[in-house]
């Protein structure tokens, strides 16, 4: 199961990379967001997916599932969400100001 998830992470990362390399704002944001999801999947796989029952004292089993990766991705998802929201707003503002959503046209600066 872990192997399958890691392969899925690889596929997601390559899709994300492809999108990030394109020129439109929205595609870059989506790409970054997909990479974020891939990384979250990788994080939750890092402790092993399901190695026992829930890590509660009352449970009478030999093995427990590692709870730390779950705590980690919870934080990571929230941060990812906030940053994506901010970037979307910024992209919209940039689109309004420049009248374009093409990264290529934002190169260089008029000061030089």
């Amino acid at each position: 199961m872990e192997t399958l998830i890691v392969i899925l992470v690889g596929i997601l990362i390559s899709i994300g990379t492809y999108l990030i390399l394109s020129r439109q704002f929205l595609r870059i944001v989506l790409g970054a967001s997909i990479v974020g999801h891939a990384v979250n999947l990788l994080l939750i796989t890092s402790g092993g997916l399901k190695t026992g029952s829930a890590p509660l004292l009352g449970e009478k089993t030999a093995g427990f599932t590692d709870a730390i990766p779950q705590a980690l991705i919870l934080t990571a998802i929230v941060i990812n969400f906030a940053v994506t929201a901010l970037v979307l707003v910024l992209c919209y503002r940039a689109y309004q100001n420049f009248g374009t959503d093409d990264m290529e046209q934002l190169r260089g600066s008029e000061h030089e």
């Binding site: 970054a32 994080l43 402790g47 990571a76 940053v83 901010l86 100001n97 600066s109």
Partner: protein, 491 residues
């Protein structure tokens, strides 16, 4: 257990949250944020004394003992950086009072500024890798908003690049965390250090070390500084000053921490590679600094040079090199804020950042001119000033450990700095005065005080070096002996 350790994080955070409520009362916002930063600096002095007397201080949050909970660890290195951060942020904050403008002040400038400081202080104090990521995100998100403050077209353009770069490097950070967790099963820095020294730093762990190197190099601007000159030259002066002084330095701090505490077993691979990156960074930064005629561009390339130079001390892994890196890091925080504020003031007066159109400002602004001259000399490392000791120790360290080429390039980089700073001084301050006092685009009213404050800070660091020599030596010793850090966390 020392509850004082959490205060440099909590005070700016809570003050920032309270200030959001008082959005319209600008006077209150100014006073409260200044008080919060002054209190933080007093606390960092207290912490420094405690660490001096009783060794490394720790705090296990919520009473969860390491390695199960999140530990806060304050060693001398963190405490020195905390103090430098507080001084720099007070300087930039006072500068912002009279330069940032009503509109920005109402648009939550002060809360965001304090959140930035929260993130930076937290990164210096945390003893947990994932918590480090969280604090990185805290100050990055604050910086995303600060960099766009004003909504000018160039700011939007540069901020998009800045944000996308940082999102990708944060993803790399998490990938590194995931790999390290799956290999070692812990995220506590001290525990990681123990586990890795037990199993040995094999090829896989070295690869992960390189992953972290890429992440922090992107944040610090070590070789991967392509985003830096653009994004540091667009925000308002006070914000550019705090960015130049703090943001790259957090990356440097993280790199020094990771490569002295955790990944120190294979220096012939990792540290040599950092050395090569540092050398290339210094040369490229130097070329940028001499090549441009834009005041802000020259200053941002100087930020890049100093990143390379500080890393050279880490590469040597000798007491002298480490001492040098710490001295230079503190010096660089003060001096970069100082020159960015002076540069911003010059642009404010002249209305342009093109050096060819600025001339002879020293006639009407003698104090500004001479303070810039002092800053320039101490950046180059003229003896009694603050840059000197760092340069001597770093060069000594690199020579002692046999990296003659690295030390040589470091000295060459000093010449680049000298040339670029004197170019600014000769063009902007000397020469024929072309602007009469009436023609100037802005006044220096209220702007000279913070600049003078930072100049005094830098002079004190230079002339009073004897006073903190013991502290810096202790910090270097703690960095070179990971066992001190580990035993402090697990006792």
């Amino acid at each position: 257990m020392n509850n004082l350790l959490i205060t440099p994080v909590v005070i700016p955070l809570l003050t920032g949250m309270v200030l959001i409520i008082f959005q319209r009362n600008i006077q209150l916002q100014r006073v409260l944020s200044l008080i919060a930063l002054i209190v933080t600096s007093v606390i960092s002095v207290l912490l420094m004394n405690q660490i001096k007397n009783d060794g490394i201080q720790t705090l296990q949050l919520g009473g969860w003992e390491a390695p199960f909970g999140i530990s806060f660890v304050g060693d001398m290195f963190s405490a020195l950086l905390l103090l430098a951060t507080s001084i720099v942020s007070i300087g930039c904050l006072i500068y912002a009072f009279s330069s940032i403008g009503r509109k920005q002040e109402k648009l939550y400038f002060y809360p965001l500024f304090l959140f930035l400081i929260t993130g930076v202080n937290g990164s210096f104090l945390t003893g947990d890798l994932f918590n480090l990521y969280v604090f990185f995100e805290v100050f990055l998100v604050a910086s995303y908003v600060l960099i766009t403050m004003g909504g000018d077209k160039r700011q939007l353009q540069e901020s998009l690049k800045y944000i996308f770069t940082n999102i990708i490097s944060s993803a790399f950070f998490l990938i590194g965390v995931a790999y390290l967790y799956s290999m070692t099963g812990t995220l506590n820095l001290a525990h990681l250090s123990i586990r890795i020294s037990e199993v040995g730093q094999d090829g896989l762990i070295t690869t992960v070390a390189f992953l972290f190197l890429i992440v922090f190099a992107l944040k610090a601007g070590l070789l991967l500084f392509f985003w830096l000159p653009g994004s540091y030259s667009v925000p308002p002066t006070a914000i550019a000053g705090i960015f130049a002084a703090l943001l790259t330095k957090v990356g440097i701090y993280a790199m020094i921490r990771m490569f002295t505490l955790i990944f120190y077993h294979e220096p012939q691979i990792t540290h040599l590679f950092i050395g090569i990156l540092a050398a290339v960074t210094m040369v490229l930064g130097g070329i940028g600094a001499i090549g441009y005629w834009d005041l802000r561009k020259i200053l941002t390339y100087n930020v890049v040079i100093s990143v390379g130079f500080i890393m050279a001390g880490l590469v040597s892994m000798t007491p002298a090199g480490m001492t040098g890196s710490i001295y230079y890091l503190i010096h660089d925080m003060l001096i970069k804020a100082l020159v960015f504020l002076i540069g911003g003031t010059v642009i404010h007066i002249a209305g342009t950042s093109d050096l060819k159109q600025i001339s002879g400002l020293i006639r009407h602004h003698p104090r500004l001119g001479w303070m810039f001259f002092i800053a320039a000399l101490s950046m180059v490392g003229i003896p009694p000033l603050s840059g000197f000791l760092g340069k001597v120790f770093i060069t000594k360290g690199t020579f002692e450990s046999g990296y003659f080429w690295l030390g040589g390039i470091g000295l060459l980089a000093s010449l680049f700095i000298l040339y670029s700073m004197i170019k600014i001084f000769m063009n902007a301050f000397w020469g024929e005065t072309i602007l009469s006092e009436e023609e100037e685009k802005g006044t220096t009213k209220g702007l000279l005080l913070p600049i003078a404050l930072l100049t005094v800070g830098s002079l004190t660091l230079g002339f009073g070096a004897e006073g903190i020599a013991g502290h810096v030596a202790q910090a270097a010793e703690e960095l070179l002996n990971p066992s001190l850090y580990i035993s402090a966390v697990f006792d």
